[in-house]
Structure formats: structure tokens, C-alpha cells
């Protein structure tokens, strides 16, 4: 960043101790702060320059000392100067800000995923292992964490100022943000998009822990089923397994291993199967018909909550074989259920706890 890390730490700690500056608790925070200090410096220089100009001219050309004004039309050189220099500075700021933006909103591939559902007026965090938290988020330091977020009702916005990250939490679609915590401790979570009566009550705490502590916490807080296990249960109880059984003649496409792959739809377009696609396919199936299949999937809009959708999405994410689906498939004749043998590499249960 152009200044020695030691000096930087000193500067930030000193600022923070005056209660006028937030801590830097994530890997991206120093980058944000660097841009901020640059902007503050440039602004100060600009402001001082303008103020000095005004003061100097006011004193030098005050009426007492300069009774007759000299009419000046203008100066193209000056106009060009104070057009080009600000523009150049603004463009530098634009590029720097753009790079920072992409850094904050493009997660690294090894990020662990935690789901967050915002609703009036609380945050629900759901770890893949099934740990549920309300207005709290436990995370390990030194590990990229991605939050996949959605709102159950109105716009909210999930903000962790000490990590310098924030993202709108929108009804109807997933939004994501990632961060990597650097220091164990607790930090504020705020909802920053006005969402009604208890908007200012929709706050919580991020607890960043050492990896060992985090593992302990995970084990302690496990209340039973993981998200994927719950998803498996929903998959059966809502009848998804009837069409998505994995048989060759099934009415719906095979979902094993589909997450992360590209599928071709009936209109010829290719789509990447990610969280958003899966959620949307459950709610608006007629717009996501895989090529070769009839548009007969009913919509589950209104029949399943965002939590339930998250569970099913987690389940499908983890799905590598249809063995367990066909095990749970209810059929009148036992010889109609023809389980295929588990695929290569999964001697254990195909669904991870």
C-alpha cells in the first residue's frame, strides 16, 4: 500500500483508540481504508486550496486596498487545468474504487458458505451443518466466508462495518458478500436499509473465533440435522422425488451432480446451475425447463419458505448420486424401485451430515 505495514498499524490503532475510526478486522479492510485515506487527503488538499484562494483573494483584493476591479474575461488555460486535473483525480478514484468493488464482491473459490435470511426484524444465519443463529454469526478467522443472503419480506441490508462489507438483502433473489476475518473478537452487524418499525433493532454480533474455537462451537451448537439433511426431508415430503428420481425414464432431470454444471434449456440457452438458478427453478419452473423435458413441473411459490428453499438448495448442492432418493421413493410395487448402485467414490452416504 505504499506505506510500511508497521506505520499503517500504528495509524489505524491510534485512530481507533480515539473512538473515531473502526477497527480493521478483515483482509479487505486495509484496502478500503487506503482508498479512504487517499480520498480524504485529496479532498483536504482541494479544500485547503480553494479556501486559501478565497482567503487570499479576499484579503488582497478587498475594497479598501483595491477599489477598482479589473474586468477579466477568463482564461482557457486555467479552465483546461482545473478541468483536467480534477478529472484525472476522479478517474484514478474510479479505477481504484472499481478494483476494490470487484475484490469485495467476487468471492474466492474456497469460500465457505453460510446462508443468511433477513426478515423483519431479525437476521437468521444458517450454517451448512445445521447450526442456526439469530442476530449472531460465528465464523472462523483466516478463512474466506461467503454469505448467501435473501430477504423474506422487504429490502434489508447486511453490514459489518469493521469488515468494511455490506450488501443489500433483497426479497426474491440471492445476494452474496464475502469476507475473511483477521482478528478474533465481536463486531457489529447492522441492518442498514430502512425496513420498518424495528429497523434499528435489527442488529447483531459477528463473533470471529480461532479455527479451533470455531470447530468447538460448531460441535456444541449442532441441534440435529444439517441443512442438507433437512433439505433431503423436504425433497421427499414435497414430492420432488416423484419426478426427479434419477431413473432414465423420469419426468424430471437428474439432479445428482447438477450443481455447478451447465445445462441447456428448451429454448437453446445454456445456464450455470448455481444457488439462484435452483431457487428460481423451484419457484418459476416454466422458465427453466431443461431441454428434452416437458414443462410440467408445478410451482412451489407460496408453499415453501426461504429457509426451506435454502435447505433444498443445500441438499441439491451436495447431491452426487440418486441412491438415497430412490431409497425414499414411495411406490406401490417394490420391483418398480430399482436402485442403482452408488456411484464411484461414495462408499459412505452420499449426503454429508
Amino acid at each position: 500500500m505504499g506505506i510500511s505495514p508497521v506505520l499503517w498499524q500504528f495509524l489505524v490503532k491510534w485512530l481507533h483508540s480515539s473512538a473515531l475510526f473502526p477497527v480493521e478486522a478483515s483482509t479487505i479492510a486495509p484496502y478500503t481504508d487506503a482508498l479512504y485515506f487517499f480520498l480524504v487527503s485529496v479532498s483536504l488538499v482541494g479544500l485547503i486550496f480553494v479556501t486559501l484562494l478565497i482567503f487570499y483573494f479576499s484579503v488582497r483584493y478587498r475594497r479598501d486596498k483595491h477599489p477598482v476591479a479589473v474586468q477579466v474575461e477568463g482564461s482557457t488555460i486555467l479552465e483546461a487545468t482545473w478541468t483536467i486535473i480534477p478529472l484525472a483525480i476522479f478517474l484514478v478514484v474510479f479505477v481504484w474504487g472499481g478494483l476494490l468493488y470487484f475484490r469485495i464482491y467476487d468471492p474466492p473459490p474456497n469460500a465457505m458458505n453460510i446462508y443468511v435470511v433477513g426478515k423483519q426484524w431479525m437476521w437468521k444465519a444458517e450454517h451448512p451443518g445445521g447450526q442456526h443463529e439469530i442476530n449472531a454469526l460465528h465464523i472462523p478467522v483466516g478463512q474466506p466466508v461467503q454469505l448467501t443472503m435473501i430477504s423474506q419480506d422487504v429490502f434489508h441490508s447486511f453490514s459489518i462495518p469493521d469488515f468494511r462489507v455490506k450488501r443489500e438483502v433483497i426479497p426474491g433473489r440471492y445476494s452474496t458478500v464475502w469476507f475473511q476475518a483477521t482478528d478474533p473478537g465481536t463486531y457489529h452487524i447492522f441492518c442498514t436499509q430502512y425496513c420498518g418499525t424495528l429497523h434499528s433493532g435489527m442488529i447483531g454480533e459477528v463473533t470471529a473465533m480461532t479455527p479451533a474455537d470455531y470447530k468447538k462451537w460448531l460441535d456444541q451448537s449442532n441441534s440435529g440435522m444439517s441443512l442438507a439433511q433437512n433439505g433431503e426431508r423436504l425433497f421427499a415430503s414435497m414430492g420432488c422425488n416423484a419426478c426427479h428420481s434419477g431413473n432414465a425414464a423420469a419426468r424430471g432431470p437428474n439432479l445428482a451432480g447438477v450443481y455447478g454444471s451447465k445445462v441447456t434449456l428448451t429454448d437453446g440457452s445454456q445456464v450455470l446451475v448455481n444457488d439462484a438458478y435452483l431457487r428460481d427453478a423451484i419457484l418459476n419452473p416454466s422458465q427453466h425447463v431443461t431441454a428434452g423435458y416437458a414443462p410440467i413441473m408445478p410451482t412451489y411459490q407460496g408453499q415453501i419458505s426461504e429457509d426451506g428453499l435454502i435447505d433444498i438448495v443445500e441438499f441439491i448442492k451436495q447431491l452426487q448420486s440418486n441412491y438415497r432418493i430412490q431409497q425414499t421413493f414411495v411406490t406401490a410395487d417394490s420391483n418398480q424401485a430399482s436402485p442403482t448402485t452408488p456411484s464411484v467414490g461414495s462408499n459412505q452416504d452420499s449426503v454429508k451430515p
Binding site: 473515531l20 478500503t32 482508498l35 479512504y36 480520498l39 479532498s43 482541494g46 479544500l47 480553494v50 484562494l53 478565497i54 482567503f55 479576499s58 483584493y61 478587498r62 475594497r63 479598501d64 483595491h66 477599489p67 476591479a69 474586468q71 477579466v72 474575461e73 477568463g74 479552465e79 482545473w82 478541468t83 480534477p86 476522479f90 478514484v93 474510479f94 474504487g97 472499481g98 468493488y101 470487484f102 464482491y105 423483519q120 419480506d153 429490502f155 453490514s159 462495518p161 468494511r164 462489507v165 455490506k166 450488501r167 433483497i170 426479497p171 426474491g172 433473489r173 447492522f190 442498514t192 436499509q193 430502512y194 425496513c195 420498518g196 418499525t197 429497523h199 434499528s200 433493532g201 411459490q301
Partner: protein, 556 residues
């Protein structure tokens, strides 16, 4: 920097009288005011109504700051607090800032500045005022009936499906007030195009006219989009169709795009006329033509044009694609440049001038400093990565108050003081007004500087309660608000006082150029006995000197 010099030149107070016939005493009776076509009377009607709504909006600001003295939500209930900031925002944006300079000073001065006897469509001008009043009444009705708590931004689906306050009444109020704005802008554009007096070419127009022209373009093209957006919100709220509801296939982001498509140009509607005032005051109190007249004129139009293409910078974290975010960020950087150009041009107008420090000049200096701060913090926010941390916090609140209050409101006060002698024939008391100017400046900085720091710390906006570590800064901010309130009360009092007891101003107390200063104060109803012929440039102080040497008496 103190200087005893002043350019104020008043007629001999022992013998001076207000002109026998002027627009104020031309006709008598309430109906002559309520059915007037005279742009000057309409401007005064607006001035009274705008002031009324300003103080209501200001009262809400006071209540907000009072609640925020303590971290706990202990003054009022959460819903009440939400209504406070909603009403504060709606009133200040739509009933004060948008019409402030155009509808009062613009209405009064613009026809005179172009050498016309009135605006192009006087009846539509009056209709504008009635629509404004109707909008105001509807909003007050919403208030009295229980208030509205959507925030001035009416975000869906909160405003359409999740609140049971008087959203419909409030949305209707703004819908109606929007047409007031559209008709004012329409009137201005036609007047400037078609009613300039002989010899008044575009580049001889005062820069105040250029700024209002640019603002009028925005009013005319942008406000209708707000109107249709409000219609859609109303329809969705009443019929529950789902055009913004994701469970029914709608898109809440559609509302955001439509809303901000107007609301971003709206901020330029609010600031451009203020910039026009500053051009006039800086020039007059330096006795000099504005430096780089052409650059300032074109930069007004550039701001208007670019202002239409940056709306999604209010949506950087809302799920727009990274690439469209890049485009809007770049355009935001471009729109910042013309404002910077203006600041430098105004500063260099001071060079080699002959400067005095009357109240309008003090307000103008305040504008330049505070608007610069507000403007550069806008660049902070236009920078994508920076915006992620700063958006939706008190940094944003500080930013827009710096440009709107430190900028626009100061410019409005500068303009009111500058043209008060012309509009009323009376001077305001100078020492008291200087005190008020300095008070507002100090109060403003104390109120809003801490909010930048609060924003970086992460304190969200629209928060009723906050973590205790933010209290000190909030207390500073509230203390400042008290000082600011005093600073704003003072003009109300002494300007009112001056109507009866102020010194008689005469035609041209500031020794200014400009057609408005060559006619009597207050002006005749028809402004000019005969339409003038413009034979000199704007801000032509040499022409003024010649004229003053040659003239014997000036009656109007």
C-alpha cells in the same frame, strides 16, 4: 479580513419613499393576490408557503436530533421516529428544496432578467402555486391523520405491502406537487427561449438564468417519471397487483430504477438554481464579471445532461451487475467535473476584484466551502469500493446535508438577502444578518461534520437507537443543530421586521449590473414601462459606471 468598506448605496433616508406605484400596492384585496397573474406576487405567495413548510420540516429535524441525544429509543416510539424522518425528508425535498430558488427568486427575477413583462404563461404559473399548496395540504393531511413512515424514498415492497400508514395520501401529495414543478420548469424554458428582449442573446443572459434553465430542463424531463412511479406504487398498494412484488413475478428493483431516474436529477434541480444565485452574488460583491462566463454557463447545462445518466449510483450494492456499476461510477465521476469547474471559476472571479463582505457574500463564501466538502464526499460515494462501506450510513446523511443545506440553503439565503431590497424595497439590518450567517455556518459544521465520522464508524441511517459508543458524536451533532436552528430563526424575525422598519433601498443598493437593478424597488407590476433593449454584456461594470456618470435621476 475585516473591512469597513461596503458598496451599499442607499438614497437619503430623510426624503426617500417607496415608489408610489409598485406591484405590491397596485391592487388591493385578498383575491387580487389569490387570482394574480403577476409573477412577482406569485413569487411572494411561494415565499410565504415555502417558509411555512421549511419550519415544519425543520421542527421534525429538531425532534430527530433530540431523540438521537441518547443511544436508547427513549423519547418517542419507533414508529413515531420513523414518521419524523420520513416527514422531514419529504417536506424538505419536495416542498422546500425543489421549489426554493426557482419558485421564489426565479419566478420573481427571471422575467425581469430577460427583459420581459412576465413569464410566458402567467395562469399556469398561478396553477403551479395552487398545485404546490394542494400537495402541501395533502401531505399535512397525511401528517394529521397519523403520518407516513416509508422514508422519503418510498422503497417497495415496504411501502406497498408492509406498512399501514397513510402512504397513499403522501404519494398523492408528491404526485400533485410534482406537477407544480413541471409547470414551473415549462414556463421558464418557454420564457427564456421566446421572450428575451431585443439584444438579449443567450450569452448576454445572467448566469442565474442559465442555471435555472438547466434546472428547468431537469424538472420537465425528470419529474414525470416520478409521477408515473408514484402512480404504480399507488396502484400496487390499492389493488395489490404485484408489479414490484417478487412473489407475483414483479421486481422490486424496477421501482428503484424508476424512482432514482427522477430522484438523482432531482438533486441537480435542487442545487443548480442555488449555483445561479452564487454567480450573481460573487460577481456583484467583487464588482467583476464572472470568470469564464461561457464555462460556467455550459457547465450548468452539462450537469443537467450528465445528471440523467448516473441514477444507479444509488443502487451500487443492490444487486446490479458489477459491470453496470462500473458504467454508472464512471459517469458519476464525469458529472462531478462541471461542479468543480464552477467552484474554481467563482474563486477566480475574486481575483483582481474589489471585494466587500456584505451578508450575501458571507453566505456565498459559506456555500463555496461547504459545497466543496459536500461535493468531494460525493466522489467518495461514487467510488464503487468506497461506497460499499459508506452507503446507507451517516456518511450519506452528512454528504447530502452538506450539499443541500450547506450548499443550497445557504445559496437560497444569499439570494433572499441579495434580492430582498428589490422584492420589498427595504434593506434588512446588516449586522444582525451577518451574525445569522456566521451562526448558521458554525452550527452547520458542528451538526454535520461529526456525521461523516459516524458514517465511517458504520452507524446506519434512519436508526432510532444506536450503540452507546456513538453517543458523543451524536451529542455534538445535536448541539450543532440547536445553533443552526437559532441561525435560521433570525432571518425570519429580522426580514419580517424590515418590511416595516427597514431602510428604503432605492433601485440599486448594491450598485449591480443586471436589468433588475435598473428598475424601481419594488418593481412595477409590468416590470418595464417599455421593453428594454440590451446593448451590453452581462456583468458589464464599465457600462454601469458610464450609466451612473450620465444619469440624472432614476425613478423606474
Amino acid at each position: 479580513m475585516s473591512s469597513t468598506a461596503t458598496i451599499v448605496t442607499l438614497p437619503d433616508q430623510a426624503t426617500a419613499r417607496l415608489p408610489k406605484r409598485n406591484y405590491l400596492n397596485n391592487e388591493d384585496g385578498l383575491l387580487s393576490w389569490l387570482l394574480t397573474g403577476d409573477h412577482k406576487r406569485i413569487a411572494m405567495l411561494y415565499l410565504i408557503s415555502i417558509t411555512f413548510f421549511f419550519f415544519i420540516g425543520g421542527a421534525f429535524a429538531g425532534l430527530i436530533r433530540l431523540e438521537l441525544l441518547t443511544p436508547q429509543p427513549d423519547l418517542v416510539a419507533a414508529d413515531t421516529y420513523n414518521k419524523f424522518f420520513t416527514m422531514h425528508g419529504i417536506i424538505m425535498v419536495f416542498l422546500f428544496l425543489v421549489p426554493s430558488v426557482p419558485a421564489t427568486i426565479g419566478n420573481f427575477l427571471m422575467p425581469i432578467m430577460v427583459g420581459a413583462k412576465d413569464l410566458a404563461f402567467p395562469k399556469i404559473n398561478l396553477l403551479s402555486w395552487y398545485l404546490y399548496v394542494l400537495g402541501g395540504i395533502l401531505l399535512m393531511a397525511a401528517l394529521v391523520l397519523g403520518g407516513v413512515d416509508t422514508g422519503w424514498t418510498f422503497t417497495t415492497p415496504l411501502s406497498t405491502h408492509y406498512l399501514n400508514t397513510h402512504v397513499i395520501t403522501a404519494a398523492l401529495a408528491i404526485f400533485v406537487a410534482g406537477f407544480s414543478s413541471i409547470f414551473t420548469g415549462l414556463n421558464f424554458i418557454v420564457t427564456i427561449h421566446r421572450m428575451r428582449c431585443p439584444g438579449m442573446t443567450w450569452f448576454r443572459l445572467p448566469l442565474f438564468v442559465w442555471s435555472n434553465y438547466a434546472a428547468s430542463l431537469l424538472m420537465v424531463l425528470g419529474t414525470p417519471v416520478l409521477a408515473i412511479t408514484l402512480v404504480l406504487v399507488l396502484l400496487e398498494r390499492v389493488f395489490g397487483i404485484g408489479v414490484f412484488d417478487p412473489t407475483k413475478g414483479g421486481d422490486p428493483l424496477l421501482f428503484q430504477h424508476l424512482f432514482w431516474f427522477y430522484s438523482h436529477p432531482a438533486v441537480y434541480i435542487m442545487i443548480l438554481p442555488g449555483m445561479g444565485v452564487i454567480s450573481e452574488t460573487i460577481s456583484t460583491f467583487s464588482r467583476k464579471r464572472v470568470f469564464g462566463y461561457t464555462a460556467v454557463a455550459f457547465s450548468s447545462v452539462a450537469i443537467a445532461l450528465f445528471g440523467f445518466f448516473v441514477w444507479a449510483h444509488h443502487m451500487f450494492i443492490m444487486g446490479i451487475s458489477n459491470y453496470s456499476a462500473l458504467v454508472f461510477s464512471l459517469l458519476t465521476m464525469l458529472v462531478a467535473v462541471p461542479s468543480a469547474i464552477k467552484i474554481f471559476n467563482w474563486a477566480f472571479t475574486l481575483q483582481k476584484g474589489s471585494i466587500t463582505f456584505e451578508t450575501p457574500m458571507l453566505y456565498s463564501f459559506g456555500f463555496m466551502g461547504l459545497f466543496t466538502i459536500g461535493g468531494v464526499t460525493g466522489v467518495f460515494l461514487g467510488s464503487l469500493g468506497m461506497d460499499i462501506h459508506l452507503t446507507e450510513t451517516y456518511f450519506i446523511v452528512a454528504h447530502f446535508h452538506f450539499v443541500m443545506v450547506g450548499g443550497m440553503l445557504m445559496a437560497f439565503l444569499a439570494g433572499i438577502h441579495f434580492w430582498w431590497p428589490k422584492m420589498t424595497g427595504r434593506m434588512y439590518p446588516e449586522s444582525l444578518s451577518k451574525l445569522a450567517a456566521v451562526t448558521t455556518f458554525i452550527g452547520f459544521i458542528l451538526t454535520f461534520m461529526p456525521q461523516f465520522i459516524l458514517g465511517y464508524l458504520g452507524m446506519p441511517r434512519r436508526y432510532h437507537a444506536y450503540p452507546p459508543e456513538y453517543q458523543v458524536l451524536n451529542v455534538l451533532s445535536t448541539a450543532g443543530a440547536t445553533v443552526l436552528g437559532v441561525g435560521y430563526m433570525l432571518p425570519l424575525l429580522y426580514l419580517g421586521w424590515s418590511l416595516k422598519y427597514g431602510a428604503i433601498a432605492g433601485d440599486n443598493p448594491w450598485q449591480a449590473t443586471g436589468l433588475e437593478w435598473q428598475i424601481q424597488s419594488p418593481p412595477l407590476t409590468e416590470n418595464f414601462i417599455e421593453i428594454p433593449i440590451m446593448d451590453h454584456e452581462a456583468y458589464d461594470y464599465e457600462w454601469l459606471e458610464q450609466k451612473q456618470k450620465n444619469e440624472v435621476t432614476t425613478v423606474g
